[in-house]
Amino acid sequence: MGSGTGSACPSSPARMNLYSLAIGITGSLLQILLLWRGWRCGLFSRFPLFYSYIAYVLSGSTLAFLIFQIHPSYYLGFYWRFFLVLLLVEFGVLLEISDHMFDPYPAIRRLGRFLAGCVCGIFSFYIVSALMQPRSLSVTTLDLFKRVSITKAAVIIVLLAIARYYRLPVGKNVAGLMVGFSVYLGINIVNFALAETFGRAVYGSMFAVVGPLSFTVCLLIWTIKVWRYEPVLQEAGRVTGAAHKVSEPVIYQIDRLNQTLTRVLRR
């Protein structure tokens, strides 16, 4: 990922390219390991979007590497298109994380989706405003990626805040996915901000290393934490809470408590 931008470094391009290559190979190996492990343990059906995302990254980066070797002039165009789709797919992975996080709790599962959607809706103004400022294409693109990363970070924080508010235990798989994503997003936010400020001439070589390195660290965390499926139910238990004691659907009970509160307010 991004080995093409590494050539902008005037000091030690050979060493930087070596780093980029090493990071690229490590990342690809981790992706293959994740996919192999997911296939062996039957995790594809449990995390379909996540494994589609990994497969997309693996095939996209392999294709980008081949294009860089065969037709270097097409590389940048292909890479940015690939990266733009990747940014959108990551939102899908976040929704999947939300669903898994609150899987045993139907009401909170819907609330999680709803609030994640609200955060994306609110931040869409922040994202779109990056496109409306008169700047160079590269600065606009970097600013856009930075804002998208901040939006995803906000979604993660909101999901964790919901879990914390309702004091829900978070499973090992989901916790790993979130930690990996946060490390990747946190480093990328700073990386995009630095690249936007200093430009390709000064920061290009570092940018090409830091971005893929953050993703490799993220992949390493994911590989360890999603090695085997560990549902949150094992920790939470199914017979806690009040739902098993009542036969009335949850929405009617929630509505009844809402009416009681409204009656108090309107007295």
Binding site: P104, Y105, A107, I108, R110, L111, F114, L115, K146, I150, A153, I156, I157, L160, A163, R164, Y166, R167, L168, P169, V170, K172, A175, M178, V179, S182, V183, L185, G186, I187, N188, I189, V190, F192, A193, L194, T197, A236, G237, R238, V239, T240, G241, A242, A243, H244, K245, V246, P249, V250, I251, Q253, I254, L257, N258, L261, V264, L265, R266, R267
Partner: protein, 175 residues
């Protein structure tokens, strides 16, 4: 440079906050705080829900203040009722939260798709939290007998029958 520092702070804070929240969430053993222990035996029954009629009814307050001429006693009663009202709302919230985080039964009879629309349930949850927060704020600031929803009495052109009725609508015991 300020922008870089800001984004560096955002990046570091993100990782720290996620790590902290996840650590707390993973250590969560569903230990309930004291206020919830009182009412986690199930959903609030009708008697509990009807209790609000007594707690928020200012009749006793006015009886003490006007009929018996004991304003200090009336204020003491109002303060006690304020504590009761806050406790009642907290218990209602605890029951509501317990209901919302109730796990789905293992062998659910109805498929997930047959449930209500996602937005409807989410809206009810958010609405409840908003109303509850508002009610707690008003009760803490003005007491249990203050009208929680503005009555728009100024829009009425016909005067009400008695001053007592008017008082029942908007009373601030702290005055």
């Amino acid at each position: 440079m300020t922008a870089i520092l800001t984004y560096a702070t955002i990046g570091i804070l993100l990782i720290l906050v996620v790590a902290l929240l996840l650590r707390e969430a993973q250590a969560e053993k569903r230990v309930e705080p004291a206020v919830e222990q009182e009412h986690l035996q199930g959903l609030p029954d009708q008697r509990f829900l009807d209790l609000s009629e007594r707690i928020f009814d200012p009749a006793d307050y006015f009886w003490l203040k006007h009929d018996l001429g004991q304003p200090r006693l009336a204020r003491a009663l109002a303060r006690a009722r304020q504590r009761l009202a806050i406790q009642w709302l907290r218990i209602l919230k605890a029951s509501f939260d317990e209901l919302v985080r109730a796990p789905e039964p293992v062998l659910s009879e109805s498929p997930a798709s047959s449930g209500p629309p996602s937005w409807q349930l989410s809206w009810l949850i958010l609405r409840f939290h908003f109303l509850l927060g508002y009610a707690l704020l008003v009760i803490r600031l003005f007491g249990p007998y203050h009208r929680l929803v503005p009555g728009f009495n100024w829009r009425r052109f016909i005067p009400e029958s008695s001053s007592r009725e008017r008082q029942l609508n908007t009373v601030n015991f702290s005055n």
